[in-house]
């Protein structure tokens, strides 16, 4: 059912699978990326940083869709996640998406919800930052933020972030990140089994 749009994504997925639970990392590679940031495990954003403004601020928008209310649609090009509401409306969240070569599309269901997910830095990151713990229990400063929603059997998740400045950018390895308040809001609105469409562009 899933349609990979980029061969690189498969390669990346295989590499990432080896890292088991990696998602938010960004490596300083020769690949062209939208925003050159590295993970900052342990960084705790301020409330002001977590408050988005403009288009990426969580808001209800007009949204014509044949999908039933409660469905999630992710528009990777526009960096928006829509939660379909009744009467041609949707709650729209600003997100960060996979960087070049790490974007994908398909249809999944939320298979698991996790509060304060744990984080395991991938081997490449440990090599670069050997002072990092190999496992960081969920909590403030965790790069996955306060909530995670697993997408089917993939290694990808919708999760929070301790880097609010990356919202609106292509920075991840295929996961979708929201600021903490938004991911908590979404987490509270969706259930396991919720259908999630991941598209490069959502046509209204």
């Amino acid at each position: 059912m899933k349609v990979r749009t980029n061969v690189l994504a498969r390669t990346a997925a295989a590499a990432i699978a080896a890292a088991a639970t990696f998602c938010p990392g960004v490596f300083a590679t020769a690949q062209q990326i939208d925003m050159n940031v590295v993970d900052q495990p342990g960084r705790v954003p301020t409330p002001e940083e977590n408050q988005l403004s403009g288009a990426y601020e969580r808001q209800e928008v007009f949204f014509r869709s044949s999908e039933s209310p409660g469905t999630v649609l992710i528009d990777t090009n526009s960096r928006f996640l829509y939660l379909v509401q009744p009467n041609n409306r949707a709650v729209r969240y600003g997100i960060g998406v996979g960087r070049e070569g790490f974007q994908w599309q398909g249809v999944e269901k939320i298979s698991k919800k996790q509060e304060w997910p744990d984080w395991r830095p991938p081997p490449e990151m440990i090599e670069r930052q050997p002072y990092l713990p190999r496992f960081m229990a969920g909590g403030p400063g965790n790069p996955l933020g306060p909530r995670a929603m697993y997408l089917g059997k993939t290694i990808y998740r919708i999760h929070g972030t301790n880097q609010p400045q990356t919202i609106g950018h292509a920075v991840s390895s295929g996961c979708f990140r929201l600021v903490d308040d938004d991911v908590i809001d979404l987490y509270d609105r969706v259930q396991v089994g919720t259908k999630v469409f991941i598209k490069q562009a959502v046509v209204l």
Partner: protein, 155 residues
């Protein structure tokens, strides 16, 4: 005149006596720095390394640390008798020493006073595990409590 002279002389003698008494008194005791309770050799080896922020996560973090020996944190002996470890956010190791603090805690950090910002407090030490907490509040907030579990043959 003679009376004034005698009075002045007495004052000088009194002052000299006071000064001499002061010189003769014991200087304030130097702070007693006890030897740290931990030997650096106890920290040398390969360790499963994990961290947590909430005390309720300690048990499972220890379990996770034990499971991380496929990518251990390696502590070697330093040329000066300390141990080679990373400071916070430093990719290169440097020699750290164990220091007994005046508060009775054992600190691990660069040579010098105990309890400085680059130090961490070492606790829960046994032959196969130890725990550290950064002194610097920012580091402590970001990295939480670190647990190290010995890999391979247990001591």
């Amino acid at each position: 005149m003679a009376k004034a002279f005698r009075t002045g002389a007495a004052a000088l003698v009194g002052l000299a006596a006071a000064l001499l008494a002061g010189c003769a008194s014991e200087p304030p005791p130097a702070p007693v720095i006890a030897a740290p309770a931990i030997n650096p050799d106890q920290l040398v080896g390969k360790w499963g390394f994990a961290a947590y922020h909430r005390d309720s996560d300690r048990g499972r973090t220890i379990k996770e640390a034990k499971a991380q020996c496929n990518r251990p944190y390696v502590i070697s002996k330093g040329p000066g008798g300390g141990v080679m470890m990373n400071l916070a956010d430093q990719a290169n190791v440097s020699e750290l020493v164990l220091k007994a603090g005046p508060d009775g805690k054992t600190y691990l950090g660069p040579a010098g006073d105990a309890g400085t910002a680059d130090d961490r407090v070492v606790t829960n030490v046994d032959p196969n595990s130890f725990t550290t907490n950064w002194v610097d509040p920012d580091n402590a907030s970001r990295y939480g409590t670190s647990v190290y579990e010995r890999c391979g043959k247990k001591a």
